[in-house]
């Protein structure tokens, strides 16, 4: 597949447009870094991911979508996604509301201790470089949750179809296409996912 990209070349040519862009950009990054610093700058990325994983685990056990949790907590769906993937961690007050909505404790979300003995057995995947993880596509429900994670039902249809097309190509190349793929395609095309 990669050979279709052709020979790689470097493009280090001058570009007046790029220079103009560069000359106009310096004020904003500090503000953005400040945002992340305020909420998560003191927390290592591994810890943020662990917090995010616990939020996701609690949410899924409660049977909530990201959109539903966002509505209950009073934040944007994108914030839930950012917290769950370790991009940042919620403020303490928000964490309490997440815990309340998911039926867990804020302490557990923060530290991983107290109140959720099942975490060790929940099949969470580990980074590829550490020996590989579980298969997130083991069932229709799991794949549906992944597609739902791209965007709420009925939104970002083209992206979802791109993801499904990529899965179809990959799965076909590696064996057979499971039945869940057809079900998912139908749900996305009808705006039910």
């Amino acid at each position: 597949m990669l050979s279709s990209c052709g020979p790689e070349r470097r493009h280090l040519t001058n570009s007046a447009q790029a220079l103009n862009t560069y000359n106009n950009l310096h004020a904003a990054p500090a503000a953005v870094n400040g945002f992340f610093g305020l909420f998560s700058g003191h927390m290592a990325s591994d810890d943020r991911r662990a917090v995010g994983h616990r939020i996701r685990t609690l949410r899924e056990r409660r049977g909530l979508t990201r959109e539903e949790l966002a509505a209950r907590v009073g934040v944007h769906t994108g914030s839930i996604a950012r917290w769950e993937t370790g991009g940042s961690v919620p403020h303490a007050y928000t964490l309490e509301r997440i815990a309340e909505a998911c039926g867990g404790s804020a302490d557990y979300i923060r530290t991983g201790r107290g109140g959720d003995e099942d975490e060790a057995n929940d099949g969470a995947s580990s980074p590829a470089g550490d020996g590989g993880g579980g298969d997130m596509f083991a069932s229709l429900d799991m794949v549906a949750r992944f597609v739902e994670g791209i965007a709420p039902a009925g939104q970002e249809r083209l992206r979802k179809l791109d993801a499904l097309e990529g899965l179809r190509r990959m799965l076909t190349a590696r064996g057979t296409l499971p039945d869940w793929w057809y079900e998912l395609k139908e749900r996305v095309e009808n705006g039910r996912l």
């Binding site: 597949m1 990669l2 279709s4 990209c5 790689e8 470097r10 493009h11 280090l12 040519t13 001058n14 570009s15 790029a18 220079l19 560069y22 950009l25 904003a28 990054p29 500090a30 870094n33 992340f36 610093g37 998560s40 700058g41 290592a44 990325s45 943020r48 996701r56 996604a81 950012r82 769950e84 993937t85 370790g86 991009g87 940042s88 995947s125 980074p127 590829a128 470089g129 550490d130 590989g132 993880g133 579980g134 298969d135 997130m136 596509f137 992944f146 994670g149 791209i150 970002e156 083209l158 992206r159 791109d162 993801a163 097309e165 990529g166 899965l167 190509r169 990959m170 190349a173 064996g175």
Partner: protein, 182 residues
Amino acid sequence: MAGSEDDAVLAAARRLVVRARDVVGCYAGPLAPVRTDQVNDLLNAAECHVEVFPFQSDTVAMALPRCAGVYPILINRSAEQTDRFFALRHELAHVLAGDVDGAVYLANEGYMSPAERVADLFALADLVPAWWIGQARRGRTPWREVKRQIALAVAEYAESWPAQRFGDRAELRLRLYREHGV
């Protein structure tokens, strides 16, 4: 706070480069950018499966969670060639870092998250290599001018980026060279 966050991003990107060099010794090295087959070696070692096809959306690339024993990386054939070179390395970084817990887009959303900054920097470490920065610095050229040159080089992969992302990555790329020798 922001300083420590930047330091963590730089350290994480350096760690990923070191891990890549375990497989392809010259990643972000004197012969960088590495060849397509060498990128392929890295992807295989990380258990990635790449599919290149025309997307219906304007997304350049995405990495998906583990499926059938591999991490699917999807690349939009309709994207510019430079974007695809960048996207492969960027998505590979997400897999190496263990970020892939849902679709990861090469889009502007979330571009200032630590994971996205690390992935961008990993890609730029090879595509705007240290040897080239060293040449720009030759003759004790002021760092300000070197930074401008780096920004121009980064721009080749950043035509559609918001200015904020572009400036941040150019700054980080210079720091990765000055502070970590990468």
